[in-house]
């Protein structure tokens, strides 16, 4: 097992190299002179020259590549954000944990809701309940999460006052206020993936429930619930894990937008500000870190396959 994880981790290295290189060249792909764009069109030549020097854009390309990797690998340095007047790593360290928490909580909720509804639908296949769950999931996939967030904000926060209209209460100030400040964002973000996981669970479980060993289990007197969870669900986990794994990346992307709805302190506003103010070091750093997280999550999914299904070999 350990060797398998190690081998997969080594296989990730080329992808990480490409991701880090892409983050580096991003600034060179910008049409025009990045120093002029960052300093502003009206900026005096001296300021443009200063930006160019600070960014190292006056040096030869290969020196810049070496500097980027040297700063990154040895010092863990991603440069300075021009908008926040702070190191990029500091801006990310302040905001990324929030986005990851939001994404992880939403993924947890989506998985629980999706697997539960999907299992109910599959075990009641063809009935009204099954149809109702299918229709709900179709509608859930079609509605933009940020819109559902707005509607819920209006009813549950503005109108009924059950939740704050926005902003974030850290867990140090109490678990209940913390959960209340996260409830609506988590629900809005989890909606799409819950619907996708419901559909996937239903389809996968229906396939498995048609197998001979399910009939055998029923025949030898195993209870309905036990057949469903032990024999059915356990064997339909692979597609479910795949979709849960890919959903984490979508969650991070969706979180960027949901954070803007509820004025939350994650990377959403950071990234938007970075683009609108042409803060390239910040964009480079964010892409790099998100890319790495995405690759690591994919690794975890691959390892889970093996943990869940002994038929998939370590090789």
């Amino acid at each position: 097992m350990f060797r398998y994880v190690l081998a997969r981790a080594v296989q990730m290295l080329p992808l990480l190299a490409v991701i880090s290189f892409l983050s580096f060249v991003l600034i060179h792909l910008v049409p025009g002179d990045p120093a002029v764009i960052m300093a502003g069109m009206q900026a005096p030549d001296s300021v443009i020259e200063q930006v160019r020097q600070e960014m190292g854009l006056d040096r030869p390309f290969h020196t810049q590549v070496l500097d980027w990797y040297q700063a990154l690998v040895i010092r863990g340095d991603l440069g300075r954000s021009y908008f926040f007047h702070a190191p990029v790593t500091q801006a990310l360290a302040e905001r990324l944990p929030f986005t990851l928490t939001l994404a992880a909580l939403s993924m947890l909720v989506a998985t629980i809701v999706g697997v539960t509804l999907g299992s109910i639908a599959a075990s009641a296949a063809g009935t009204f309940l099954d149809r109702a769950i299918l229709v709900m999931s179709l509608v859930g996939i079609a509605m933009p999460g940020f819109w559902v967030g707005l509607v819920m904000m209006f009813y549950f926060a503005v109108d009924l006052g059950w939740f704050p209209t926005g902003g974030y209460t850290p867990p140090i100030e109490g678990v209940v206020p913390w959960l209340r400040s996260l409830a609506l964002p988590v629900f809005s973000l989890a909606l799409l993936e819950s619907a996708l996981i419901t559909r996937m669970t239903r389809a996968s479980l229906l396939d498995v429930l048609g197998e001979d060993y399910i009939r055998t289990a029923h025949a030898k007197g195993v209870g309905h619930r036990r057949v469903l969870t032990r024999h059915g669900l356990r064997n339909s986990l692979i597609p479910i894990i795949t979709i849960v794994g890919t959903s984490f990346g979508n969650m991070i992307g969706g979180a960027v937008i949901i954070e803007m709805v509820f004025s939350l302190p994650g990377i959403g506003r950071l990234v938007t500000m970075a683009i609108l103010s042409r803060d390239y070091p910040l964009i480079q750093g964010t892409m790099l870190v998100i890319g790495i997280i995405y690759v690591v999550v994919n690794l975890i999914v691959d390892v889970l396959y093996v943990a869940v299904d002994p038929r998939i070999s370590y090789a």
Partner: protein
Amino acid sequence: MTARLTKFARQRPTGLVGIVLLVGLVVASVGAPLWGLADPLESDYLSMLSPPAADHVLGTDQYGRDLLTRVIYGARLSLGIGASVMTLAALAGLVLGSLAGYFSRLDGPIMRGLDVLMAFPAILLAIAIMAILGTGARNGVIALAIVYTPRCARIVRASVLSVRQRTFVEAGQALGAGDARSLGIHILPNAIGPLVVQMIFVFAYAILADAGLSFIGVGTPPPTPSLGNILAEARDYLMVAPWLMWWPGAAIAAIVLALNLCGDALREVMDPRQRSG
């Protein structure tokens, strides 16, 4: 033809609902200039933020602009953006996927390159590309087309790989068909089905993603109405004008639902083995 249609309607009622809904939405929004609507940009400072009433059926926004008009023009823009993204991504996917599937020497380089694009979440990749190109609707289309190209290419490649093994392709080559003829005339027409299904879903994803981008302010800039930027303005006036948020979101949901229903039905028609529900 009529018999086949009734059969389709009976067997796949959801698909029929999807097609009817989609046609209705497309006609209503693409024909927008013909319906005698108000100008989506025309301000009326005497009726700012007025709730739904006889003269403004869905109410007005903070500049007194008619919401119904803006939602219809917004939906028109969304459909246009979705269709453009779909076309660009499908064309790029078709070229890259068929090259990768047919020429095994190109397979590795092309697919590894596309894997890198898939190593970022879709929305963030689109945002990063817009950081390079700049914000706005046109760059949003290019960004989303790049984001969805790998999916299309993978599907074309898989399909080309399997059709390439078929006997009639070999027969064509034995009769002297060159690579261009073999790929273009024998393989692609038989390999394009899965791409067509995928295109409908790309259309739907693109509309959702574009709405999100223009909601956070990097897509279509105001005052041009897009469903995302109307919702961004609705957020600022949530307390005083809650009617602003309903219809733009409902329009997005209706378009995406219609597309998904059509896509599901088409997939089932093309591949009877993949029946669900």
